[in-house]
Protein backbone atom coordinates (compact mmCIF):
# COMPACT_ATOMS: atom_id res chain seq x y z
CA UNK A 1 0.00 0.00 0.00
CA UNK A 2 2.95 2.32 0.69
CA UNK A 3 3.90 1.98 -2.98
CA UNK A 4 0.68 3.59 -4.14
CA UNK A 5 0.84 7.33 -4.61
CA UNK A 6 -2.26 9.55 -4.55
CA UNK A 7 -2.36 9.85 -8.35
CA UNK A 8 -2.44 6.08 -8.73
CA UNK A 9 -5.14 5.86 -6.07
CA UNK A 10 -7.19 8.53 -7.87
CA UNK A 11 -6.80 6.72 -11.22
CA UNK A 12 -7.90 3.43 -9.66
CA UNK A 13 -10.91 5.04 -8.00
CA UNK A 14 -11.91 6.66 -11.29
CA UNK A 15 -11.62 3.31 -13.08
CA UNK A 16 -13.86 1.66 -10.47
CA UNK A 17 -16.42 4.47 -10.68
CA UNK A 18 -16.40 4.30 -14.49
CA UNK A 19 -17.05 0.54 -14.38
CA UNK A 20 -19.96 1.04 -11.99
CA UNK A 21 -21.40 3.89 -14.10
CA UNK A 22 -21.38 1.56 -17.11
CA UNK A 23 -23.42 -0.96 -15.14
CA UNK A 24 -25.82 1.83 -14.10
CA UNK A 25 -26.25 2.68 -17.79
CA UNK A 26 -27.78 -0.78 -18.24
CA UNK A 27 -30.76 0.15 -16.05
CA UNK A 28 -33.95 0.15 -18.07
CA UNK A 29 -36.55 -2.16 -19.55
CA UNK A 30 -35.95 -4.62 -22.39
CA UNK A 31 -36.54 -3.22 -25.89
CA UNK A 32 -39.07 -6.04 -26.45
CA UNK A 33 -41.18 -4.68 -23.57
CA UNK A 34 -41.48 -1.30 -25.28
CA UNK A 35 -42.42 -2.85 -28.62
CA UNK A 36 -44.98 -5.14 -26.98
CA UNK A 37 -46.40 -2.09 -25.26
CA UNK A 38 -46.50 -0.21 -28.59
CA UNK A 39 -48.24 -3.16 -30.28
CA UNK A 40 -50.82 -3.35 -27.49
CA UNK A 41 -51.40 0.38 -27.68
CA UNK A 42 -52.07 0.23 -31.40
CA UNK A 43 -54.31 -2.81 -31.03
CA UNK A 44 -56.39 -1.03 -28.40
CA UNK A 45 -56.68 1.98 -30.70
CA UNK A 46 -57.95 -0.26 -33.50
CA UNK A 47 -60.34 -2.20 -31.25
CA UNK A 48 -61.64 1.00 -29.69
CA UNK A 49 -62.56 2.23 -33.17
CA UNK A 50 -63.84 -0.85 -35.00
CA UNK A 51 -64.89 -3.35 -32.32
CA UNK A 52 -67.78 -3.38 -29.88
CA UNK A 53 -67.28 -1.52 -26.61
CA UNK A 54 -67.37 -4.86 -24.78
CA UNK A 55 -64.52 -6.31 -26.81
CA UNK A 56 -62.49 -3.11 -26.54
CA UNK A 57 -63.10 -3.05 -22.78
CA UNK A 58 -62.09 -6.70 -22.40
CA UNK A 59 -58.94 -6.11 -24.46
CA UNK A 60 -58.04 -3.11 -22.29
CA UNK A 61 -58.44 -5.21 -19.15
CA UNK A 62 -56.31 -7.99 -20.67
CA UNK A 63 -53.64 -5.47 -21.65
CA UNK A 64 -53.61 -4.06 -18.12
CA UNK A 65 -53.45 -7.54 -16.60
CA UNK A 66 -50.56 -8.57 -18.86
CA UNK A 67 -48.67 -5.42 -17.91
CA UNK A 68 -49.36 -6.01 -14.22
CA UNK A 69 -48.04 -9.59 -14.57
CA UNK A 70 -44.81 -8.35 -16.14
CA UNK A 71 -44.38 -5.43 -13.76
CA UNK A 72 -42.90 -7.20 -10.73
CA UNK A 73 -40.20 -8.78 -12.88
CA UNK A 74 -39.37 -5.95 -15.24
CA UNK A 75 -40.30 -2.58 -13.81
CA UNK A 76 -37.42 -2.42 -11.34
CA UNK A 77 -35.21 -1.74 -14.37
CA UNK A 78 -32.54 -4.30 -13.47
CA UNK A 79 -33.15 -6.72 -16.33
CA UNK A 80 -32.91 -4.61 -19.47
CA UNK A 81 -30.44 -7.02 -21.02
CA UNK A 82 -29.95 -10.75 -20.61
CA UNK A 83 -26.20 -10.15 -20.24
CA UNK A 84 -26.29 -8.90 -16.67
CA UNK A 85 -28.59 -8.13 -13.79
CA UNK A 86 -28.00 -4.75 -12.21
CA UNK A 87 -27.57 -4.84 -8.43
CA UNK A 88 -30.53 -3.73 -6.35
CA UNK A 89 -28.42 -1.09 -4.58
CA UNK A 90 -27.81 0.64 -7.91
CA UNK A 91 -31.37 0.71 -9.27
CA UNK A 92 -33.55 3.34 -7.67
CA UNK A 93 -36.84 2.22 -6.15
CA UNK A 94 -38.49 5.10 -8.00
CA UNK A 95 -37.97 3.51 -11.43
CA UNK A 96 -41.29 1.54 -11.40
CA UNK A 97 -43.11 4.77 -10.52
CA UNK A 98 -41.37 6.58 -13.35
CA UNK A 99 -42.47 3.90 -15.82
CA UNK A 100 -46.05 3.89 -14.52
CA UNK A 101 -46.14 7.71 -14.56
CA UNK A 102 -44.78 7.77 -18.09
CA UNK A 103 -47.39 5.27 -19.30
CA UNK A 104 -50.21 7.13 -17.53
CA UNK A 105 -49.10 10.37 -19.20
CA UNK A 106 -49.07 8.62 -22.57
CA UNK A 107 -52.60 7.33 -21.98
CA UNK A 108 -53.72 10.92 -21.31
CA UNK A 109 -51.87 12.17 -24.40
CA UNK A 110 -53.42 9.42 -26.53
CA UNK A 111 -56.93 10.40 -25.40
CA UNK A 112 -56.18 14.09 -26.02
CA UNK A 113 -54.76 13.31 -29.47
CA UNK A 114 -57.82 11.20 -30.33
CA UNK A 115 -60.18 13.98 -29.21
CA UNK A 116 -58.21 16.58 -31.18
CA UNK A 117 -58.19 14.42 -34.32
CA UNK A 118 -61.89 13.67 -33.94
CA UNK A 119 -62.69 17.36 -33.51
CA UNK A 120 -60.66 18.01 -36.65
CA UNK A 121 -62.91 15.59 -38.52
CA UNK A 122 -60.36 12.81 -38.98
CA UNK A 123 -61.68 9.34 -39.70
CA UNK A 124 -60.62 6.64 -37.21
CA UNK A 125 -59.18 9.16 -34.76
CA UNK A 126 -58.58 6.43 -32.15
CA UNK A 127 -56.41 4.43 -34.53
CA UNK A 128 -54.31 7.42 -35.51
CA UNK A 129 -53.87 8.47 -31.90
CA UNK A 130 -52.91 4.89 -30.96
CA UNK A 131 -50.45 4.73 -33.85
CA UNK A 132 -48.85 8.00 -32.75
CA UNK A 133 -48.49 6.82 -29.15
CA UNK A 134 -47.24 3.40 -30.29
CA UNK A 135 -44.51 5.05 -32.39
CA UNK A 136 -43.46 7.21 -29.44
CA UNK A 137 -43.32 4.18 -27.11
CA UNK A 138 -41.67 1.77 -29.54
CA UNK A 139 -39.03 4.09 -30.91
CA UNK A 140 -38.54 6.38 -27.92
CA UNK A 141 -39.57 4.45 -24.78
CA UNK A 142 -36.04 3.63 -23.56
CA UNK A 143 -34.79 7.14 -24.33
CA UNK A 144 -37.76 8.82 -22.61
CA UNK A 145 -37.20 6.66 -19.52
CA UNK A 146 -33.50 7.53 -19.55
CA UNK A 147 -34.31 11.26 -19.61
CA UNK A 148 -36.91 10.84 -16.85
CA UNK A 149 -34.37 8.97 -14.73
CA UNK A 150 -31.89 11.79 -15.17
CA UNK A 151 -34.49 14.41 -14.24
CA UNK A 152 -35.63 12.43 -11.22
CA UNK A 153 -32.06 11.45 -10.23
CA UNK A 154 -33.31 7.86 -10.15
Amino acid sequence: MDDIDPDQARTALEAAERAQRQVADEIGLPRAYWWAMAGGWLLLGVLGTVASPWLAGAATLLFGAANAALAPRLLDGRRRTSRLQVGSALASRRIPWLVVGMLATLVALTVLAALALDADGADHAGIWAGLLAAAVIGFGGPEILRVLRRWAHA
Partner: protein, 104 residues
Protein backbone atom coordinates in the same frame (compact mmCIF):
# COMPACT_ATOMS: atom_id res chain seq x y z
CA UNK B 1 -18.62 -0.34 8.63
CA UNK B 2 -16.02 -1.08 5.95
CA UNK B 3 -12.45 -1.57 7.06
CA UNK B 4 -9.92 0.00 4.69
CA UNK B 5 -7.67 -2.77 3.41
CA UNK B 6 -5.53 -2.45 0.32
CA UNK B 7 -5.93 -5.60 -1.77
CA UNK B 8 -3.03 -6.48 -4.04
CA UNK B 9 -5.12 -9.04 -5.91
CA UNK B 10 -7.85 -6.57 -6.87
CA UNK B 11 -5.66 -3.55 -7.56
CA UNK B 12 -4.42 -4.30 -11.13
CA UNK B 13 -6.61 -2.23 -13.43
CA UNK B 14 -8.27 -5.10 -15.31
CA UNK B 15 -9.20 -6.95 -12.15
CA UNK B 16 -10.36 -3.74 -10.49
CA UNK B 17 -12.67 -3.03 -13.42
CA UNK B 18 -13.96 -6.62 -13.32
CA UNK B 19 -14.61 -6.57 -9.59
CA UNK B 20 -16.13 -3.05 -9.69
CA UNK B 21 -18.48 -4.19 -12.46
CA UNK B 22 -19.51 -7.31 -10.54
CA UNK B 23 -19.92 -5.27 -7.34
CA UNK B 24 -22.56 -3.17 -9.11
CA UNK B 25 -24.37 -6.20 -10.54
CA UNK B 26 -26.02 -9.32 -9.17
CA UNK B 27 -24.28 -11.25 -11.94
CA UNK B 28 -22.77 -10.60 -15.35
CA UNK B 29 -22.22 -12.83 -18.34
CA UNK B 30 -18.78 -13.58 -19.70
CA UNK B 31 -19.56 -11.74 -22.97
CA UNK B 32 -20.57 -8.58 -21.12
CA UNK B 33 -17.41 -8.63 -19.00
CA UNK B 34 -15.32 -9.25 -22.10
CA UNK B 35 -16.80 -6.15 -23.76
CA UNK B 36 -16.18 -4.08 -20.65
CA UNK B 37 -12.53 -4.99 -20.10
CA UNK B 38 -11.59 -5.62 -23.73
CA UNK B 39 -9.74 -8.88 -23.14
CA UNK B 40 -9.55 -12.04 -25.19
CA UNK B 41 -11.58 -15.05 -24.02
CA UNK B 42 -8.52 -16.77 -22.62
CA UNK B 43 -7.20 -13.67 -20.86
CA UNK B 44 -10.58 -13.01 -19.24
CA UNK B 45 -10.90 -16.65 -18.21
CA UNK B 46 -7.50 -16.40 -16.56
CA UNK B 47 -8.49 -13.28 -14.63
CA UNK B 48 -11.77 -14.83 -13.51
CA UNK B 49 -9.98 -18.00 -12.43
CA UNK B 50 -7.56 -15.95 -10.33
CA UNK B 51 -10.46 -14.17 -8.65
CA UNK B 52 -12.35 -17.44 -8.22
CA UNK B 53 -9.36 -19.14 -6.59
CA UNK B 54 -9.17 -16.25 -4.13
CA UNK B 55 -12.83 -16.82 -3.27
CA UNK B 56 -13.85 -13.41 -4.62
CA UNK B 57 -15.92 -14.62 -7.57
CA UNK B 58 -18.07 -17.62 -8.39
CA UNK B 59 -18.93 -18.71 -11.89
CA UNK B 60 -21.67 -20.96 -13.19
CA UNK B 61 -22.48 -22.30 -16.63
CA UNK B 62 -26.08 -21.94 -17.72
CA UNK B 63 -27.73 -23.45 -20.73
CA UNK B 64 -29.59 -20.84 -22.79
CA UNK B 65 -31.20 -22.44 -25.81
CA UNK B 66 -28.46 -24.54 -27.31
CA UNK B 67 -25.65 -22.35 -25.99
CA UNK B 68 -23.80 -22.50 -22.71
CA UNK B 69 -23.20 -19.16 -21.09
CA UNK B 70 -20.91 -18.39 -18.21
CA UNK B 71 -22.17 -16.14 -15.45
CA UNK B 72 -19.90 -14.59 -12.85
CA UNK B 73 -20.92 -13.06 -9.57
CA UNK B 74 -19.05 -11.53 -6.66
CA UNK B 75 -19.04 -13.49 -3.40
CA UNK B 76 -19.59 -11.77 -0.04
CA UNK B 77 -15.84 -12.13 0.54
CA UNK B 78 -15.14 -10.47 -2.80
CA UNK B 79 -17.57 -7.64 -2.03
CA UNK B 80 -15.94 -7.06 1.34
CA UNK B 81 -12.48 -7.05 -0.26
CA UNK B 82 -13.62 -4.60 -2.95
CA UNK B 83 -15.22 -2.24 -0.43
CA UNK B 84 -12.09 -2.43 1.74
CA UNK B 85 -9.88 -1.73 -1.25
CA UNK B 86 -11.94 1.31 -2.29
CA UNK B 87 -11.82 2.58 1.29
CA UNK B 88 -8.02 2.12 1.30
CA UNK B 89 -7.67 4.07 -1.96
CA UNK B 90 -9.85 6.85 -0.55
CA UNK B 91 -7.71 6.89 2.58
CA UNK B 92 -4.55 7.33 0.47
CA UNK B 93 -6.18 10.28 -1.31
CA UNK B 94 -7.46 11.80 1.91
CA UNK B 95 -4.02 11.55 3.53
CA UNK B 96 -2.51 13.39 0.58
CA UNK B 97 -5.09 16.18 0.64
CA UNK B 98 -3.89 19.16 2.69
CA UNK B 99 -6.25 20.04 5.55
CA UNK B 100 -8.50 23.01 4.93
CA UNK B 101 -7.37 26.17 6.72
CA UNK B 102 -9.56 27.15 9.67
CA UNK B 103 -12.16 29.82 8.87
CA UNK B 104 -10.93 33.37 9.46
Amino acid sequence: MTTARFDELIHPSTRLTLVATLAAADWAEFAYLKDRVGLSDSALSKQLTTLEQAGYVTTERRLTGSRQRLRARLTPTGREAFNGHIAALQAILAAATPPEPPPA
